[in-house]
Subunit: 562 residues, 2 copies
């Protein structure tokens, strides 16, 4: 909450929203109601038939919202994405928002919602933070069907000769459950199979999630699912999902989930909320289906990418845009005075006091992200997401710094004021997007070797001195190149808190060494994951989980989601 | 398929259905469209507000469809339930159908759909056999949230002193996955908790599923969830879900799932498809919410119970009707000539040949079920679900046998002809239901001891000579009685293929001993499970799972569901 006790909580604001029937929201983008598959009165999926019909439309302008490195102070990337979408509509543009779906598991842990905040939210926020339209449940089912089919294949004779020690496909659950991270399964005797080590990841970490977010249609989805490597034989040759005939049924389970979800902002503007891959071990962007569809039916599409620009924007450009042929017209980099102060060395408990010097010091982090985004040929503008403790001097310090970089920083008050607080940014973004200055190109060419791609990101984006990796890692990459996977982009899995692999190293470090500890091939999603540190793919719950405070009040309303 | 190649498959018939918008179906029962929460254009949930408003309406007549003991020949209980609902509408009655939801897991194993068959189906059958409105996913999530909270409670200090060897709450997944039946979890070191034995059941076997099906409103749901016993302390005292503060968040996850789902038959008549507990270790009936709501807005409600009448009807009467205060007006017992022949000793491969003597011999099974249903004070009528190989002599043999029992058997051709083929039964059922002869009473009184309740079912329904149990089982029952659970009904878990515990003992055996191997307390659902044989709570997949033949065809239609 940004100010005193009179300020309403996110859930109170969301509950008071005057939602319009989803058919009216669809009509704003000329989607006929028969092509909206409703889920309740305020959510709908856009039909595959309608999407196919729009394929030859001209594309609107794509605007990426990214951010400085996240800090515990929060930066408000989703809030700004939603606010900018509302702002563009306010100034008369036909604009749509594309954001990611929220994961159910973390809702019961420490995290609140993922639908924006204040007066820049997407609704119905309760549904979006719970089951929504069932997409994640469908992904869980498809993933676990494949898991069951693998053990079943082994049980009934193992015709594909899968090495049970080398089954790489785990199981998933949309829950924070540390007890499932590492298990031994198939215990209890002959009827239960061959005991082996296994484990669960959270659903958002599933390769099926990444596939759903990158697939361009049902055929492409089915092909990618078939391409999944489930494990290896003793001779190290891969066994594919296709080999055990799992791809057809998995596609059937995901048929509806592939269709983008349409909801609305508090100001009744259209928002596509679809897909939500783990920004660590996947690319962390809204689905290609949603983004490309929105571009066909809106003049401006505002989307976000996970974490800070070093991770999120890089993957957005190098994986999503590269693969889907998207050409972003502009990027907005979100910063808050508080987060800049933390990047400048201030502790969280001291954020309330004015500290212009710390703001200036922290601006180095922002400056690095501006430079990085421009490396992709995309023009950038800075949004200062206003917080009530910000002082004029602090705000001026940010503006001055950004001006020195040759760019502009705009103060935005969408959290407190909705679209009225972000008009200036909306006008500037339109001007930037229409200027034609964007000359988007990915950072590296497909033809580069996998390790060179990793090195390129490390040196040019993270500003490390080098990427280092054991021989086994380099050999693995070479082997994949020999198997025909050398053209894939790399998906960096690194802490989101720093340009380096040390989460405590804030600001704009240089010269650090980036160790590549492990590499994983997501053959269905179509990228090679380079792991530069501990990556937790199944979170745990805290000592007092937020679930303890989530309940239905006497009016049947949900309390405890925020 | 009942006849030659010209006959359409269930999925072909379902696909050709002329579905009406779900709002029109709701209007048939005077449900305003604002109280229908749509899921696509052909499915909807009925709002809790509307249900509350109907609470003071007069009840319609409740008709139970049950069956002889199932055989591999099939008896068509759901098909007859759907057909009778259509038949009642055809003769001008305001009738609704209440059936159970299908489990996703078995769809990919050997089983086809669970939406009826031929021209007596509920649609959209593909959705119903896949994610439908997400109820089972919500149950899976609520169940596994509790599981995660248990291990998390232990991890963070175990304030409730749960004995990790006595955690009785497992995890669930809606998938046939034998590898998860028995696992060791929390491996991998300190950060992952305390290793212990654990395992997964299929979602339909979850106590949460039974609770959802018995709950009368959200408050009752929350209370029952809190009453779940998750495990025991070293002193054997129970730890409840409420003790670890799980009930509120579980209720929030199940808020939408508690609202009954409305769909339609091929003939556009309303069908409530809601809940689907495992008829083995739970009571196996459509939800109380759906049945009671349907009774308030329809004049006739046709519902079914799992398996044969010995298991399904007994639990329907003794658990569901007792707990929900329902008073069934009539029962229909479904039989097929083929299944009677199998009960008379014929092998499946010989079912095509006429065998009147075998039919007569098998009728003993049918006769026993007629007697049993009448013990509850409910009048019964027999539906002969016609199959094209049935001969006139065979059908006459059944009719003659039933007439000897003082009841009537009606030949029904709803599979091939829809409602036109079941008009006679519809008229007879109306006459029976309106006759006022039903004097329903459960088989045993709440006050009886738990073991006496078990004995009563064994002797009066199964016609066994006695129920036997080890001292440990009897002591456990006594302990629960001391803890205040003595008033609960018993939920028998027995093979569905025989009145005895030997699945191969068909017909109408008497004098058999029924061993009670184990008892389980479902304190939230409100019954004590008496296990009389092997009960598999997590199925496996066959050598060639049906998933291998499930895929999207070039028109985007689902193939392989039936």
């Amino acid at each position: 909450m940004k100010s005193g006790a009179e300020v309403k909580s996110d859930i109170e604001i969301a509950r008071a929203a005057k939602k319009k029937p989803i058919q009216e929201i669809g009509a704003r983008l000329d989607i006929p109601s028969e092509h909206l598959l409703p889920y309740g009165h305020d959510k709908a999926k856009v039909s595959a038939e309608f999407i196919a019909e729009t394929r030859n439309n001209t594309d609107g302008k794509l605007i990426l919202v990214t951010a400085i490195n996240p800090t515990p102070a929060g930066e408000g990337k989703t809030t700004t994405t939603v606010g900018l979408g509302d702002g563009l509509n306010r100034i008369g543009k036909k604009a749509a928002i594309c954001i990611r779906e929220a994961s159910l598991g973390p809702c019961f842990g420490v995290k609140g919602g993922a639908a924006g905040g204040g007066y820049a939210q997407v609704v119905p926020m309760e549904d979006m933070n719970l089951h929504f339209t069932g997409d994640f449940h469908a992904i869980t089912s498809a993933h676990n069907l494949l898991s069951a089919l693998i053990d079943n294949h082994i049980y009934w004779g193992n015709a594909e000769e899968i090495d049970t020690r080398r089954v790489t496909w785990r199981r998933v659950m949309d829950m924070n459950d540390r007890a499932l991270r590492e298990i031994v399964c198939s215990l209890g005797g002959v009827a239960n199979g061959f005991p082996r080590e296994a484990g669960f990841d959270i659903t958002v970490a599933s390769e099926v999630m990444a596939i759903l977010c990158l697939a361009t249609d049902l055929k492409d989805l089915e092909k990618r699912l078939g391409d999944i490597i489930v494990g290896y034989r003793r001779d190290k040759s891969p066994v594919f999902a296709r080999d055990i005939k799992a791809d057809g049924a998995m596609t059937v389970l995901l048929k509806d989930a592939l269709q983008p979800n349409l909801v609305q902002t508090l100001e009744n503007n259209p928002a596509f909320v679809h897909g939500g891959p783990f920004a660590n071990i996947a690319h962390g962007c809204n689905s290609v289906m949603a983004t490309t569809t929105a571009l066909k039916i809106a003049d401006y599409v505002v989307t976000e990418a996970g974490f800070g620009a070093d991770l999120g924007a890089e993957k957005f450009f190098d994986i999503k845009c590269r693969k889907a042929g998207l050409k972003p017209a502009a990027a907005v980099i979100v910063a808050t005075v508080r987060a800049l102060k933390m990047n400048g060395g201030v502790k969280k408990e001291d954020l309330g006091a004015e500290n212009v010097e710390a703001v200036k010091a922290g601006c180095a982090n922002l400056g690095r992200h501006i430079e990085n985004v421009k490396q992709f040929g995309v023009p950038a503008i800075v949004a200062i997401n206003h917080f009530h403790t910000d002082t004029d001097a602090e705000i001026e310090a940010v503006k001055a710094y950004v001006a020195e970089q040759g760019e502009e920083a705009i103060l935005c008050r969408h959290w407190a004021e909705g679209s009225a607080g972000i008009e200036e940014l909306a006008h500037k973004v339109v001007a930037l997007a229409e200027s034609g200055v964007s000359q988007f190109a990915p950072l590296y060419a497909d033809e580069m070797s996998l390790f060179e791609k990793i090195e390129t990101v490390v040196k040019r984006i993270y500003r490390g001195s080098e990427a280092v990796a054991d021989k086994s890692v380099r050999n693995q990459l070479k082997q994949w190149e020999e198997q025909g996977y050398g053209h894939l982009p790399v998906c960096m899995a690194k802490t989101q808190y720093s340009f380096s692999t040390d989460p405590n190293l804030r600001g704009a470090p240089t010269g650090h060494v980036v160790p590549i500890r492990e590499v994983r091939l997501s053959a269905g999603a179509g990228f090679v994951v380079a792991i530069c540190g501990e990556i937790m793919t199944m979170p745990g719950l805290p000592k007092v989980p937020s679930s303890e405070h989530i309940f239905l009040n006497d009016d049947g309303q949900i309390e405890g989601l925020s």
